[in-house]
Amino acid sequence: MLDVGGFSTRTCHGHSRRAFLRTASSLPLTWGLSPALSTGAINPGKAKSILLVWLWGGPSHLDMFDPKPKAPLEYRGPFSTISTATPGLRFSELLPKTASLSNDFSLVRSHINHSGDHLLAGSIGLTGGEESLGGHPPNFGSIVAKKRISETLPPFVSLADGPIGDGRGPMKGYGGGSWGKAFDPFMVHCSEQGSIQIPALKLIDGLNLGRLDERKTLLKDLDELRRQVDATNFGPWDNLYHQAYGLLTSSDARKAFQLSEESEATRESYGFTSFGQSCLLGRRLVESGIPYVQVNWSQYVEVLYPFSDYGWDTHADNFELLAEWHLPILDRAFSTLLRDLSNRGLLETTLVVCIGEFGRTPRINSIGSRDHWPQCYSSIWAGAGVQPGRTIGESDRYGEHPITDPVTPATVGTTMLELSGISSRERAELKVLPEGRVLHELL
């Protein structure tokens, strides 16, 4: 179900029209950009689309893709390791399906970030840099969005109920940054049953997919809404109006968001979890030609603890949470995503990257769990020219530090953009990722 009704922006005091206006002011203006905003179409690289699987919170690298079975008990944790399809490569025993596909992707085990704070590290992880006097650098997806024009679908979609953040608020790097809200992602939330909610379009009570087919009704509703907003002299509304209308009245565009178009078997294979169905939606959006899709396991997905557990932030009960929920859900959904993309021939032109903002402390903390660790973590890369079956980089015997050249977030972003056809010259023109390098070992 595509649910665009029931406006749900909430404050501590409930819903309000002011809340709506605030939401409207933050709406994405990225697709259907005016010529003045767009820098023009480019020839796409091997990656027509990038699908970033963002594991927000800091997934434990030792308990997933960089286990240390020979380390002392206080480091290695309670999970055994299993062999993968790649000789000599071992993963956690809780990732058997992903392990069986290891010859279809490459693994990077030498990431570092420059902060152990979620909001800062997350912003760096998604932009490659830190805030400066010129503002915050744009998200990798915003950069792709600036170079791609789409008539009906937004070029940068983030599957979440709102900006990624923690209890203090959203991270600054979730969207356009210094480029403005015009380059923020188009947010879409996917429930465990696959119902879709588009926060930006929850404008009119009672508006639903059925009513969208009644163009007169829709126009009347939108006109009324525009009239109300015009009264506030709210400038971006025209853009919102055109964008929302473009999406809502294009059956092809709406179709991209409808998981009911998928067979039951396909939907089952991803698992009926919010993350699983989000992965399936991510595949559909890539299939529809959206150039940058960010699938999030965030504070809105599979949350078991309040005020914590922002996705993978397992300060408490790391091992039980990973064993009971996180890793089996990830293993099912992510392995299905890779297989599905491959079976449909989409992996040739889709770059898949699975990563978080940092790892977790190799040494188990005093309460039997793991804390933040930006000094070393892992990622998975597949498709669009990435040579599969490789392990890039290596961490030390306890997984505390890379013993090979560290891979920074700027390198992650630069490599993603290079594969999507945004060259070093274009990056320089855009003044993004000045210090990034392409991770050629992957290619």
Partner: protein
């Protein structure tokens, strides 16, 4: 091969294969009964002592884990604490029906132990001094004098106990690794629990005072979430030894192993019915999580088990 049979799906497979499977695994003679149908994530089910209700944690609300009660006779489900806004995990009940307790989230990652006295209508709370510490998997002693649980706090992740007022904390283990998930034997003399003290998760038993430790399983794959049958003859537990989560039975010596669930999708969080002849599991089927009731009449026949083990 598709081994599972539920009330809504009638799979077909060759007769020869069926006969072979029946010989190998008597569980197939009585397919499990699906008890819930919403498919939402669930964990830690437990029967009430009458055996008429199941209580479990479920992710049925967006971003909240709540306790629900299922009436077995009718299938009716109700939230146990409809006004509670915190997450609620791992409920359990005292033998005399007077007390029940569960783990409740606090304003930090902390999970506190909440003990409710239904006679006095009072609530006692035990919280670890560590702001990120947790209490998981509580269980009442059969004599209804204290509660044993897995405690993560200063000193690591240990088995500990408090009295029914949430006081007089006593740690029963002081071992490395993760020690959690205790369950009493029917007579209260022993505890069975999960520990990673030697490397990976295995099942152990000890006397209720923490002495006479005995390692029950020893497998490269994880074994966890043990629960003792009401007659003390069997221990149900979850294991990854077949490559995915299955629920097995074994005796206290760790032998006579039987795979109860035997399915390519996840099965975990087993709990015994008070009659000792049924086991409930949280099982993932076709990507959905529901409660399934397994009839163990044939499985708990010792001769049959010996044959399987051979």
């Amino acid at each position: 091969m598709f081994l599972y049979n539920d009330s809504r799906t009638k799979p077909t497979f060759p007769i020869a294969g069926l006969l072979m499977l029946i010989l190998v695994n008597p569980a197939l003679t009585s397919p499990p009964k699906q008890l819930t149908f919403d498919g939402k994530k669930k964990l830690s089910p437990i029967f009430t002592h009458s055996g008429k209700h199941l209580v479990f944690s479920t992710h049925s609300l967006p971003n909240r884990v709540t306790l629900e009660q299922l009436v077995l006779a009718t299938g009716k489900r109700t939230r146990l604490l409809p006004n509670e806004t915190a997450h609620q995990w791992d409920v359990t009940f005292s033998n005399d029906g007077r007390y029940w307790c569960y783990a409740r989230s606090a304003s930090s990652p902390q999970l506190q132990l909440v003990i409710r006295d239904t006679h006095e209508n009072t609530e006692a709370i035990f919280a670890t001094p560590e702001p990120r510490g947790t209490v998981r998997h509580p269980t009442f002693s059969p004599d209804n004098t204290h509660i044993v649980f897995g405690l993560s706090g200063p000193g690591g992740h240990q088995i500990a106990s408090v009295n029914l007022q949430g006081q007089k904390l006593r740690k029963l283990t002081a071992a490395p690794g993760i020690n959690t998930g205790p369950e009493y034997s029917f007579d209260g003399d022993k505890l069975v629990f999960t520990s990673s003290r030697t490397g990976n998760f295995e099942i152990y038993s000890m006397l209720a005072d923490g002495n006479k430790l005995q390692m029950i399983t020893n497998n490269p794959a994880m074994d966890l979430h043990p629960s003792w049958s009401p007659d003390g003859k069997w221990i149900a537990f979850t294991t990854l030894r077949d490559g995915n989560y299955e629920v097995y039975l074994m005796n206290e010596q760790g032998t006579n192993l039987v795979n109860v669930t035997n399915h390519h999708e996840r099965d975990q969080f087993s709990a015994w019915h008070p009659n000792g002849q049924h086991l409930v599991t949280v099982s993932e089927r076709k990507g959905r999580f529901d409660l399934y009731l397994h009839d163990l009449h044939s499985l708990t026949n010792m001769d049959a088990l010996r044959n399987v083990d051979k």
